[in-house]
Amino acid sequence: MLEMTSIEGDANLYPRLVPAGDSAVVIELGAKIDPLINDQVYVLARSIENAKIEAISELVPTYRSVLVNYDPLIMRFSEISERLDKLIGDSSTPTAAETKDTKVIELSVVYGGDDGPDIDAVADHAGLSVQEVINIHSGVDYRVYMIGFSPGFPYLGGLDDRIAIPRLKTPRISVPAGSVGIAESQTGVYPNASPGGWQLIGRIAAKLFDEASPRPSLITPGSKVRFVPVKSHD
C-alpha cells in the first residue's frame, strides 16, 4: 500500500547519532521513507521525552530521524550523546503495544466543485470517474510521517498510486485554507491560505492550526488521518 521510496544508504549505518552544530544532535534511524522506521522515530521520541533530560529544549521527529535541541551550557555533546545512546538501544525494537494505539483523526471533506477544482483533471489523468477518485482517496488511513514546512502542515504517506498526479505546471497564487491536494504520490492539506502547486480535489472546514488553542495542531505527528466525504460543510 505504501510506496517505499528507497535512496542509497547502508542499513548498517543506522541508527547513527551526529552533531547538528553545537546545540543539537540528530539521530538517524534509516535512509528511506518507511513506516517501520517512522514507528521507531516516534517510539524513540517518546522515550527521550519520558527521560526528562533537563538540557533538552525540544525534539523534532521527522520521516526517519529525531532532532534533539539542547543547551550545551547545561550538558556537553559527549554527555548528551551517552544519555541518548542508551535510550536508542532501549527503544530500537518497538513492541506492538507501543505502535498500534495510533490515533486516527477524521477530517470531513467536500470533494470537487469549487472546493476541489482539479478533481476532474485527477480523474482524467487516472482514467477513473470522479466518484472512484473520491472512493480511493477516502478509502485509506494516511500516516502522518511528520509535520513541517508551515504550522500544522502534515506530510502524509499512503496515497494510492492510481490517483497520483504531477503538480500544476503553474502554481496558484493563493490556495484557500483547508484545501486537500495531491502532488505526485503525496496527499496533504493546506492549513493556511498560501501559494501552491498541488492539484486540489477538495476542502476541509476544520481549522488545522489554531495558535490560541492549548493543542494548536489538530493533526499531530505519529497519528493517522482519514478523509470522510461529506456533501457540504453546513
Partner: protein, 364 residues
C-alpha cells in the same frame, strides 16, 4: 486604565522593517512552527542587560533604519546591534549605553552605517501578548508580535513593569561589537550530512570566499560563490529537521545559511552548521558581505559558547556618570565617564571612541 497600561511606546515612523522579537518560539517545531526571534541575539541580550531586563525580553529589531518612537512615560532604553546614529529629541545618544528618556521624548534612529539590524531594548520589555510562549514576530506564518505583522505607524506597544533595576548611564564595553567587519570568517561544525558531499566539495566550502546576495532575509542568507560538489550529483535528502545556522546546499550547489525565520524542516543536504557564537554577526551581514568558513570541533564550539555566555554579563557593564553632550570644533559629541574615572567614551557621529584620561576630578 492601570498604570501598567499607561506605559507604552507610540510608533511615529516604523522604517522599512521593524519587528517585535524576543528569544523565539521554542517548543513547537514538531508542529511546524518556526522559532524566529532576534537574528542578532547577542545584541538583544546586551540591550536587555543594559536596561535591567531578563536577557531575552522582547525588544524592537529595526532593519536598515528610519525608526522613530515616542515614550509615554520616563523609560530607560538602550540601542544595540548595528552602528546607527540615534537621537533623543535631537540630542545624539550612543549605542550600547542605557539612557533615561522622559515622558513624551522621541527616539529616532537614522540609517545604519555598518551592519544591518539595530535593536531597541526598553526597561520592562515590550509586553504584547504571547503567542505559543513567545512575543517574536514570524511574518511568513503571521504569528506573534502585533497580529503577526511588522510594526506600523501609530502602533501602541505596551511595556512591562520595569522593576527596580533599570538605571541609565551604563555602558556595555565590547571592543568586538564596535566594529562590524565587511568580511566575516565564520566557524562551522561539519555535518550532519557532510558525507553527502565529495571531499572536493567540502574543500570548496572551506577554501573559498562566498558573498551574501540580496536574496537574503531573516529566513536565511543565500550565498554566491563556487559550486559545492555532492557525491551523487543529487542534493536532496528525505526532508528532515534543520537548526539555526544549518548550511544547506540546494541543486545549484551554492550554500544557504538558515537563520531565525527558517522553516522547521528542509529537503536539501546540510554540509555544516554555523557555531552559535558566530550566528549574531550573520544577522548583521548585508548583501555584498564576504564570508569564509573554518571548521572546528563540537567541543571547541561549545567552549566558545561558554566563554561568550560569561562575556555578556553584568561584569561587562561600565557605570558612567550620565553622558553629557557638548560641542568640540562645532561637532556635537557625547562624553561618558565611569564613576571611578577608569574609563571614558566619546560618541561622535555614530562611533564610540574609548579615551584614557590622565587626571580626573569628579564634579560636585
Amino acid at each position: 486604565m492601570t498604570s501598567a497600561m499607561n506605559r507604552y511606546i507610540r510608533v511615529i515612523q516604523p522604517g522599512p522593517m521593524t519587528l517585535v522579537q524576543d528569544r523565539g518560539r521554542v517548543g513547537f517545531q514538531q508542529l511546524g512552527v518556526s522559532v524566529s526571534g532576534a537574528v542578532d541575539a547577542d545584541a538583544l541580550a546586551i540591550g536587555n542587560l543594559l536596561v535591567g531586563n531578563d536577557r531575552m525580553a522582547a525588544g524592537l529589531e529595526m532593519m536598515l533604519g528610519g525608526l522613530e518612537i515616542e515614550f509615554s512615560m520616563p523609560t530607560v532604553f538602550a540601542v544595540t546591534g548595528a552602528d546607527v546614529g540615534a537621537t533623543v529629541d535631537e540630542v545624539p545618544v550612543a549605542t550600547h549605553v542605557s539612557y533615561l528618556a522622559h515622558a513624551g521624548a522621541h527616539l529616532k534612529l537614522e540609517m545604519v552605517h555598518r551592519g544591518l539590524r539595530a535593536y531597541v531594548a526598553m526597561a520592562g520589555g515590550i509586553a504584547v501578548s504571547k503567542t505559543l510562549g513567545s512575543r517574536s514576530t514570524h511574518i511568513p506564518s503571521k504569528l506573534g508580535g502585533i497580529e503577526g505583522r511588522m510594526v506600523m505607524e501609530a502602533d501602541l506597544l505596551p511595556l512591562g513593569d520595569p522593576g527596580g533595576s533599570a538605571v541609565s548611564g551604563l555602558w556595555f564595553d565590547d571592543g568586538k561589537r564596535a566594529a562590524i567587519p565587511s568580511e566575516l570568517n565564520v566557524r562551522i561544525v561539519l555535518g550532519p550530512q557532510d558525507d553527502e558531499f565529495s571531499s572536493s566539495g567540502v574543500e570548496t566550502l572551506l577554501g573559498s570566499t562566498y558573498t551574501v546576495t540580496d536574496q537574503s532575509n531573516r529566513q536565511g542568507l543565500r550565498l554566491d560563490g563556487p559550486v559545492i560538489e555532492s557525491k551523487s550529483g543529487r542534493y536532496d535528502i528525505i526532508s528532515d529537521a534543520v537548526v539555526n545556522g544549518s548550511i544547506q546546499v540546494p541543486g545549484d550547489g551554492k550554500p544557504i545559511i538558515l537563520l531565525a525565520d527558517r522553516q522547521t524542516t528542509g529537503g536539501y543536504a546540510k554540509i555544516a552548521t554555523v557555531v552559535t557564537v558566530d550566528l549574531p554577526e550573520l544577522g548583521q551581514a548585508s548583501p555584498g558581505t564576504n564570508i569564509t568558513f573554518t571548521a572546528i570541533s563540537v567541543d571547541e564550539a561549545q567552549q566558545l559558547l561558554v566563554q561568550q555566555d560569561l562575556m555578556i554579563s553584568s561584569s561587562a557593564l561600565v557605570r558612567l556618570i550620565e553622558p553629557i553632550s557638548l560641542h568640540v570644533d562645532t561637532e556635537r559629541v557625547s562624553v561618558g565617564v565611569s564613576g571611578n574615572g577608569m574609563a571614558l567614551m566619546a560618541y561622535v557621529q555614530g562611533d564610540i571612541y574609548p579615551i584614557s584620561i590622565d587626571e580626573y576630578t569628579p564634579a560636585e
